[in-house]
């Protein structure tokens, strides 16, 4: 797709949704975002990066049936986008310019029983910052500092019987994690000790067709919220196969093909939260079992405390894995930062809001400091300023991103 095609598509998308007659059930935003980097990991990394987004969501209720569809169009100034115009199940390694974020219908089967089918996002777990129940769900780390979930094609049954809620999900197609371009500042792979100049040739290995199935039960008892879940199927975070046997030598350095494979994994977990006065304590524990040698089993726990102070909220989360991973945990993505302490402070002001998030790896001494302030020009226009500062040992998942230190500015118009 040429740049002209992309611009035409984005313009048409904007025209469609700005039409008054259609606008009633639409919401969305257009955003321009710019990043500036004080250093680079290699000559291929840009000093500045531009990111433009147009997102539109359509929601319609027909009786008790809910219909929702949304489409995102994007332009990124770097080579992070793939050649496909649209990747309907997000199964390819690069982010496409267009993406269907929602395309689902929810049908009431009974007053307290719903069937949702189509493409939608899931949100699980109790602990914010890191949740073992939620962490395995596919994410897009094209921007390594955003926690952007990918939607799934799935069928979901949710119900409630008095204080007991239940949720069954069948995801027939694997949507894999999307990881940044290997060898770029966003995924430098320093930990593997590759020689300088090494280039990774990423193979767009097809993920398995089948996805996963999961069951979650939730129960509310006074100040307590309790939960238990289990899932089985394909783990969407890939395992990387570095094909040294197929490496080639080019004038600029070694080129190593990298394939991806996907392990099967079974997991069970519990969740609980409780109010203690003005504090909320949330906790999770999960056992993740796999016969895959490069993945191994995991026993992951998380504990978070939260309290409101005036118009601000403090959140502290501690998460860890009792099992030592068989490979460098950086290569396991959802387990890369464990053990970690995550502290977040956000506050609403008359002019907008701001937040500070400090994530520190407790094993390798690296971490990430994020700060962001959003100023509301009006109810529809907003300017955001922020920065990300990864620091510490380059053997850690954040320290390795030293060349990703950056500041950003964004302006958004919502409707």
């Amino acid at each position: 797709m040429t740049r002209l095609h992309l611009q035409v598509c984005l313009f048409l998308l904007f025209l469609i949704t700005s039409t008054q007659a259609l606008a009633e059930n639409f919401s969305g935003y257009v955003e321009a975002k710019g990043f500036a980097y004080p250093e680079r990991a290699s000559y291929r990394d840009p000093w500045v990066l531009g990111w433009g987004t147009l997102f539109n969501k359509w929601e319609q209720k027909v009786g008790e049936v809910q219909l929702t569809a949304s489409l995102r169009g994007e332009w990124i100034s770097s080579n992070e986008q793939g050649s496909l115009l649209l990747d309907l199940a997000d199964r390819h390694i690069r982010r496409p310019p267009f993406s269907v974020q929602d395309l689902w219908v929810r049908l009431p089967i009974a007053p307290d029983l719903d069937l949702q089918l189509g493409r939608f996002q899931l949100g699980w777990g109790k602990t914010d910052g890191y949740s073992p129940a939620d962490a395995f769900l596919p994410r897009d780390f094209t921007d390594p500092f955003s926690d952007e979930k990918l939607p799934l094609w799935a069928l979901r049954l949710t119900g409630q019987n008095s204080s007991l809620r239940y949720e069954a999900v069948a995801c027939p197609v694997t949507t894999p994690w999307r990881i940044p371009v290997l060898g770029s500042r966003n995924a430098p792979l320093k930990a593997e000790g590759f020689p300088a100049g090494t280039v990774f040739k990423e193979v767009d290995s097809p993920p398995p067709e089948v996805g996963f199935a999961a069951l979650r039960l939730l129960y509310t008892l006074g100040d307590w919220d309790l939960g238990a879940w289990g899932r089985a199927g394909v783990r969407p975070a890939p395992l990387l196969n570095f094909r040294f046997d197929q490496a080639t030598l080019a004038p600029s350095g070694i080129t190593i093909p990298v394939e991806r494979r996907y392990a099967r994994e079974e997991a069970v977990g519990i969740e609980l939260s409780r109010i203690f006065g003005s504090w909320i304590i949330r906790s999770e524990a999960a056992a993740l079992l796999s016969r895959e040698r490069d993945l191994g089993d995991a026993l992951i726990g998380s504990l978070s405390v939260e309290r409101g102070f005036g118009d601000g909220t403090l959140l502290i989360t501690l998460a860890g894995n009792a099992n030592e991973p068989p490979v460098d945990p950086t290569l396991l993505f959802d387990r890369a930062l464990l053990p970690a302490l995550i502290s977040a402070w956000n506050r609403t002001e008359e002019w907008g809001e701001w937040k500070l998030v400090w994530t520190t790896g407790l094993k390798r001494g690296d971490g990430l400091l994020k700060a962001e302030a959003g100023y509301n020009l009006t109810d529809l226009w907003k300017v955001t300023l922020g920065g990300e500062l990864p620091y510490g040992s380059t053997a850690g998942p954040f320290g390795a991103l030293y060349a990703d230190r950056r500041v950003h500015v964004a302006i958004r118009r919502s409707w």
């Binding site: 919401s27 996002q121 949100g123 119900g159 409101g308 005036g310 609403t348 937040k355 509301n376």
Partner: protein, 268 residues
């Protein structure tokens, strides 16, 4: 975005309705507490729903707006509330569910954030914290419970052309820590509806905040103020709430006030 618990203009409306219930014809000098009890007995509504539009104007004249729908079943100590924000786009779909518990216990409260696709249980907020960036604080959002106050009839005064009874309400220690030292309530005599509250913070000689209700209408046999204004003289700002689509005692689906429903994206 950080979203504060949107507990309830709904509750504020309920307070207004409760006080509006005070029946005409009660003699001047009547016991203020007896009036409040009588109002609660006579004017309970089984359900209430409305669409709210809120405007905040700060001292520089900058205007912010919010819109939401509110549903309530039960009353006071046995109330269940669901609020769903519709505007601005940034908070569209945010939901709040409050389920009352036995006497003396804080209600169970959850917030649904569309960005997280799940609910989060929330704790009682500091009572002096601002409610979603408005001039209302969380104590302002609570229903006026006369048992938490020492109440006394102060006299009569004309407000907006209507003769009003004036009742002073002083928070009792047993009622929990209050942001305010004193509240002065103005009740329209003919229908005994609350028209104004003067809110005195600790140490105030003059009220820091004024709460004014207007545009009264009788809907489904219940008086209700369609317009409410809270002004804060310290900040120089004013918050106006306008209610529409008001309905009382309309049957609510049994499943509306459940966590299952709170998690229904696009639902109400």
């Amino acid at each position: 975005m950080h979203i504060r618990k949107p507990s309830g203009i709904a509750l504020r409306v309920a307070t207004a309705v409760l006080l509006s219930a005070l029946t005409a014809g009660l003699a001047w000098g009547a016991d203020a507490r007896a009036l409040l009890k009588e109002s609660e007995n006579r004017h309970r509504t089984k359900t209430q729903q409305y669409a709210g539009n809120l405007t905040v104007v700060n001292k520089e004249g900058k205007v912010r707006k919010k819109g939401w729908k509110s549903f309530r079943q039960g009353y006071a100590g046995d109330a269940r509330n669901l609020i769903r924000f519709a505007d601005p786009p940034e908070v569209k779909g945010v939901g709040f569910l409050s389920l009352s518990r036995s006497a003396g216990q804080n209600p169970d409260q959850w917030l649904y954030l569309p960005s997280m696709k799940r609910e989060r249980r929330i704790a009682t907020q500091d009572r002096d914290a601002s409610f979603v960036g408005t001039d209302f604080n969380y104590e302002d959002m609570e229903e006026f419970d006369h048992v938490k106050y020492k109440v006394a009839m102060q006299g009569e005064q004309t407000v907006e052309g209507y003769a009003c009874y004036v009742i002073a309400a002083t928070p009792l220690e047993s009622g929990g820590k209050s942001v305010y030292e004193k509240k002065i309530l103005y009740l329209r005599k003919d229908i005994l509806y609350l028209l104004r509250e003067d809110l005195y913070l600790k140490g105030d000689k003059q009220p820091s905040k004024l709460f004014v209700l207007s545009d009264l209408q009788n809907i489904d046999g219940h008086w209700v103020a369609r317009k409410m204004e809270m002004s804060d003289s310290r900040k120089g700002s004013k918050t106006t709430v306008v209610l529409g689509e008001i309905a009382f005692d309309k049957p609510q689906p049994a499943s509306r006030f459940t966590l299952q429903n709170l998690n229904r994206e696009g639902g109400d």
